[in-house]
Symmetry: C2
Subunit: 386 residues, 2 copies
């Protein structure tokens, strides 16, 4: 389901001329209400892009009428001039929509450190406003306009039998990391929920979806996830049910980002059980998921579990080396910290790899989605389009 | 200067048959005294190889008569059988030397998770003992026998006008990380120092040399640095002078490891100044040095300072984005958190790159040596000889 799946939303994706390729690069998402409740989660990077600073500020009200998103430039490390560009963008959208600039969030992605061409952005906002649509294709156009090194548009959704739904899109292929996958994501719902309920649900969902995706350990300056509620269905869902549905949607989007990550040839799930706590499980899984030697071995279809054991051992979590079990694709490779055989019998020729680590210490569980470290990753990131 | 440069030491490097290539793979270093003082620093990985567990235990006495080192197998994740192999190796060397097994340290490097062929190791110890020599070539033979993916033997030394000296060797090319470069290193000196003095000097030297090398962020199960003193010069140096000389020697060895790191095409120094503390400076430098996107950009000779800024921003240190200055090879790229121009004018075609980051917060300084992330790194580590 696209962003325009839930009632009360319109969207557009247009060519504003920010990308030298001439591909779509500006999206507008509008919440026509009756509600304009919203919540957001942002990067924890201390170097924040201008649109993040702007959007964090306007979201303190808990209300958003629209979001302008652009690819073709991150508007990060751009100083006061960059912030003014974000502000002017919100102003222009607000004029066109008849609302205040503080009801418009901004998201940007692309190269850090370059100013966006302000006139082109503002003209793009007008073009997008003129092209707003409420059909499925309009949402897909918005999803397409925020792509950078993504090769496919990413969308997901949920439809409740009670009459409300969720639609979502995301972009993200590299610089995917720590506290939140490096990404822009917009989620829409016609459920009748206030900002506080949205905030609670969004934080719970992000914690176990986007936050559990780690492609390269690099946290970006622009990470933003926004959730907008129109209330147009008139239905107020049970909070637990809504959180569950939102989590499913976010997980689907995270999986789509994993599958389309820069240079990916293997989709790796690192699953940790038996940790002293959930936090410890996630720490161990993340450490293994980030280890360059593990990632290159899996790229080479080599079940080099010794590298996995080494990464478990240097993670900042409680580990007893004599209780460590490691299996890859269900083949036990290490039991009680010692080789269990099987290294050469694991079939890693497929694209899907599950690394299962049992610590034998407690009941903490957690998993991280990651990818391998391939020649294509190096190629793509050593020749980034400037 | 090789390990046998200082008086009172003999060494050998032989083919024990642990490497399928038939290259030298076992080294013996003997301290003939009159002293047998020693100190060591070991990996902080919670998964420790059998030789690390053995050597940590025997070093509590502060005395070592010999060290047996082998490549061709890490003897890590090998359980009681692996520990017995380490023990038996020390026993055999002790018999030959007429000392106790607790005076013999063991170091191993190679694939994790496979048992070493014990008979071959023991035969290798005998062969090495029969071939012990005190000349420069004997030290070099030992340095050569501990190489894994290293392409050259690494040696360094220092000669004091007061009549004492230091010799050292190291190996390490990948899995070079956090608390200590992943490596085996043996240092010898004929200075007349006791174990406590050696320990103090070694910790101080390692902290600003091996600990400041970070190739891929992966801390190994086998990291070991040993310092042996024979006292044969009869000279007791000033502790500060000895520490300084030891630090210079370790820094030289660290630089040699950087230059020979797996897949290296660029030798990168990340230098941080103006941090709130020295710890913060090192944290920021290490975060940047580990960032895959920074490392691939530099591989591509692209001065993509936005990625550097992003890595600074997600480091676990005090950072004010508005005070951040970044220069690469002396060309200012970012001033006060904003583009300073110059990105396309930086010449990164050479092998030596200096990334200078000024945080503008205090007087903390620190640097980390690292390398780029190249196709050759991926190639070498996705096709590790098994």
């Amino acid at each position: 389901m696209s962003l325009t799946g839930p009632q009360g939303f319109r969207a557009a994706g247009v060519v504003a001329g920010l990308k030298s390729s001439g591909a779509p690069d500006l999206a507008l998402v509008v919440n026509d209400g009756p509600r304009s409740a919203a919540a957001g989660v942002f990067t924890r990077n201390k170097v924040k892009a201008a649109p993040v600073l702007w959007s964090q500020q306007v979201l303190t009200s808990g209300a958003l009428r629209a979001v302008v998103l652009n690819s073709g430039g991150a508007n990060a490390c751009t100083g006061p001039e960059g912030f003014q560009t974000a502000h002017a963008t919100a102003e222009r959208a607000a004029e066109l929509l008849g609302c205040g600039a503080v009801e418009v969030a901004i998201c940007s992605t692309g190269l850090i450190g370059a100013q966006l061409p302000r006139d082109a952005v503002l003209a793009g906002v007008e073009k997008a406003h003129a092209g707003l649509g409420a059909d499925e294709a309009a949402g897909t156009a918005a999803a397409t306009a925020i792509m950078t090194t993504d090769t496919v548009a990413k969308q997901a959704g949920y439809t409740s039998e009670a009459g409300w739904g969720i639609g979502g899109t995301t972009k993200g292929a590299g610089m995917i990391a720590p506290s939140m996958a490096t990404m822009l994501s917009v989620l829409t719902t016609d459920a009748d929920l206030d900002a506080a309920a949205l905030d609670t649900a969004l934080r719970a969902a992000v914690r176990v979806s986007f936050d559990r995706l780690d492609v390269d350990g690099s946290m970006s300056t622009n990470d933003t996830v926004l959730l907008l509620a129109s209330g147009a269905s008139g239905v107020r869902p049970d909070p637990a049910e809504f959180t569950e549905a939102l989590t499913l949607t976010c997980r689907s989007l995270a999986r789509q980002m994993q599958a389309d990550a820069e240079g990916v040839t293997k989709r790796i799930t690192v699953r940790v059980t038996g940790a002293a706590s959930e936090d410890d499980a996630v720490v161990v899984a993340r450490t293994v998921a980030r280890d360059s030697l593990v990632k290159t071995a899996l790229f080479g279809s080599d079940a080099n579990w010794g590298r996995i054991a080494a990464a478990v051992g240097y993670s900042d979590a409680a580990v007893d080396p004599d209780r460590l079990d490691i299996a890859v694709n269900d083949v036990p490779l290490c039991t009680g910290g010692v080789a269990a055989g099987g290294r050469t019998s694991v079939d890693l020729s497929g694209a899907e790899i599950v690394v299962a680590i049992a610590l034998g210490l407690g009941h903490g569980e957690g998993e991280i989605l990651t990818t391998d470290l391939s020649h294509a990753y190096v190629e793509e990131n050593s020749a980034y389009p400037t």
